[in-house]
């Protein structure tokens, strides 16, 4: 799965959690979940659960703590997928 596919999947997951539709439309690697998308920090854990389900991966607590923006999240998803494949 390439980065663009992962980003598209991530965008779909995030959609119900944000009211910032313009920021979501222009989502890039630099987008921050809390400052740009104004996602309630309590919902970050729900987003991680949705990611685990969609990408069929398990995300440990340390990784979860880093998933505050699109860049880190994409990296962790790619890394966990690679671990699964390996």
């Amino acid at each position: 799965m390439n980065k663009n596919d992962i980003l598209a999947g991530l965008k779909e997951i995030i959609t119900p959690y944000t009211e910032e539709k313009t920021a979501l439309e222009h989502i890039t690697e630099d987008t921050d979940f809390i400052t740009d998308l104004k996602i309630n920090s309590a919902n970050l854990v729900d987003i991680v659960l949705d990611i685990e389900e969609k990408f069929d991966i398990a995300i440990d607590n340390d990784s979860m703590a880093k998933m505050l923006n699109v860049k880190a999240t994409l990296e962790i998803i790619a890394q966990k997928q690679a671990e699964n494949a390996g």
């Binding site: 119900p16 959690y17 309590a42 919902n43 854990v45 729900d46 659960l49």
Partner: protein, 426 residues
């Protein structure tokens, strides 16, 4: 310091026989039953397989909750409470606070017995299956007792006191008295007062097991709840929510709000589970003292009470309650006030009963009617000895009156009594 007068300026309801004030008003005037057979209770082998549950469709619920909230919502009590609460706010002509600052002069006391019992069950099962990681973020907000007041406060932007009270079946009446006292003493201009109770087997099961619910009417739900009847054989469990916007008279007049009624006083006490009082039975002396203290607090005489909306659950305690009212109000058999119980139509809505019944009480005062005691065609002979049968209306009476006393009593031997007065434009 002068004390504020407190009036009711908004009503909201989510009752088994009506989920808008308009539908509920029609329902209580016509004696419409909200009790239905519950297949789930039958499947689970409950003794009592009938119950009262508000009817809400998805379209209605979606007006109050976001899609994200509904994705994880499994707390019927929060749904009922938010619907009743937000409807009351709108009925009072009030808007939610803007995005940046709460309304510092508005708060809520919104009570419940327990919160999100289905959500709790789901979470407990998940944890026991070693699925703690899969709980997500919604368990705490839905299972904390104050979940209902927290949801309401967030939706309305309330910046004054926001709390959830709990006193078993006296919860709803208590929330209104707490709000009344808060406004009376000048601590807020407006308080949303109300209470809610979940639906379903996990909330009703404990009562079924105690054998306090009727098991004789599973095939005839509409006749199952029979307050003051000779064939009353236990209460029918119910659920829902009621909400009232309480407001200082000054605030209500200054914004030209519709005024439904005035709250002129009330009292809360406990029998301390002493004398005849126990965890589940009321101490009659405490009940009488609560009523007398409410009259004193309201500054009225016992003979001023024209209508009583009782607790009257359809158990063997109904006659005792009538006797307590008779003693507290010092009435003879002939001059006893009119008395009714809403539970014949909707069952006993547990922690929501007091607020739902207070909404019904306010409507009676405001519109000038006394709703009928359904299923009381065979009056309990013990009650017939105490009071004139005419005072227990079986058909709606159209009548303007000024003073209504409302009481609720709860497990733990706790009591609440409120005095409501018709508001005349001055």
């Amino acid at each position: 310091m002068s004390e504020n007068r407190v009036v009711v300026t908004g009503l909201g309801i989510c009752a088994p026989n009506g989920t808008t004030v308009e539908a509920f008003t029609d329902a209580i005037k016509s004696g419409l039953s909200g009790i239905a057979h519950q297949p789930e209770l039958e499947r689970l082998g409950f003794s009592c397989q009938v119950a009262g549950k508000p009817t809400l469709d998805e379209e209605r619920i979606d007006q109050y909750f976001s899609a994200l909230e509904m994705r994880s919502m499994d707390s019927s009590g929060i749904v009922y409470g938010v619907i009743a609460g937000l409807d009351a706010w709108r009925d009072a002509g009030l808007l939610p606070a803007g995005a940046d600052e709460p309304d510092w002069e508005s708060g809520t006391f919104f009570g419940t017995g327990t919160s999100g019992i289905n959500k709790f069950r789901w979470a407990i099962n998940k944890i026991d299956e070693l699925g703690i990681r899969k709980l997500g973020s919604s368990v705490v907000a839905q299972t904390m007792a104050s979940g209902v007041s927290a949801f309401i406060s967030g939706k309305l932007g309330l910046g004054n006191r926001v709390s959830t009270n709990s006193s078993a079946c006296a919860t709803g009446a208590e929330s209104i008295l707490l709000a009344y006292e808060h406004i009376k003493s000048g601590k807020a201009k407006r308080m949303l007062a109300g209470s809610t109770s979940d639906s379903g087997p996990y909330i009703w099961g404990g009562f079924d097991a105690m054998k306090v619910c009727t098991f004789k009417h599973n095939d005839t739900p509409h006749t199952a709840s029979r307050p003051m009847s000779a064939t009353a054989s236990g209460f029918v469990p119910g659920s829902g929510a009621g909400a009232l916007v309480l407001e200082s008279l000054d605030s209500a007049l200054s914004r030209k709000a519709k005024i439904y009624a005035e709250i002129i006083g009330g009292s809360l006490n406990s029998g301390g589970q002493r004398g005849e009082g126990t965890m589940t039975a009321p101490n009659p002396l405490a009940v009488q003292r609560c009523i007398i203290a409410a009259l004193e607090n309201a500054g009225i005489k016992a003979e001023d009470v024209e209508v009583i909306n009782g607790h009257l659950t359809a158990t063997s305690k109904d006659a005792l309650e009538i006797e307590n009212w008779k003693i507290a109000l010092n009435r003879s058999k002939e001059n006893f006030p009119y008395i009714n119980s809403l539970k014949g139509m909707i069952g006993h809505c547990i922690s929501a009963s007091g607020s739902i019944e207070c909404v019904a009480s306010v409507l009676q005062l405001h519109e000038g009617f006394i709703f009928p005691n359904v299923n009381c065609n065979d009056l309990n002979p013990e009650i017939a000895l105490l009071i004139d049968e005419q005072k227990i209306p079986r058909k709606t009476i159209k009548k303007n009156f000024d003073i209504l006393a409302k009481a609720s009593f709860g497990f733990g031997d706790v009591n609440a009594c409120l005095i409501l007065k018709k508001y005349h434009n001055e």
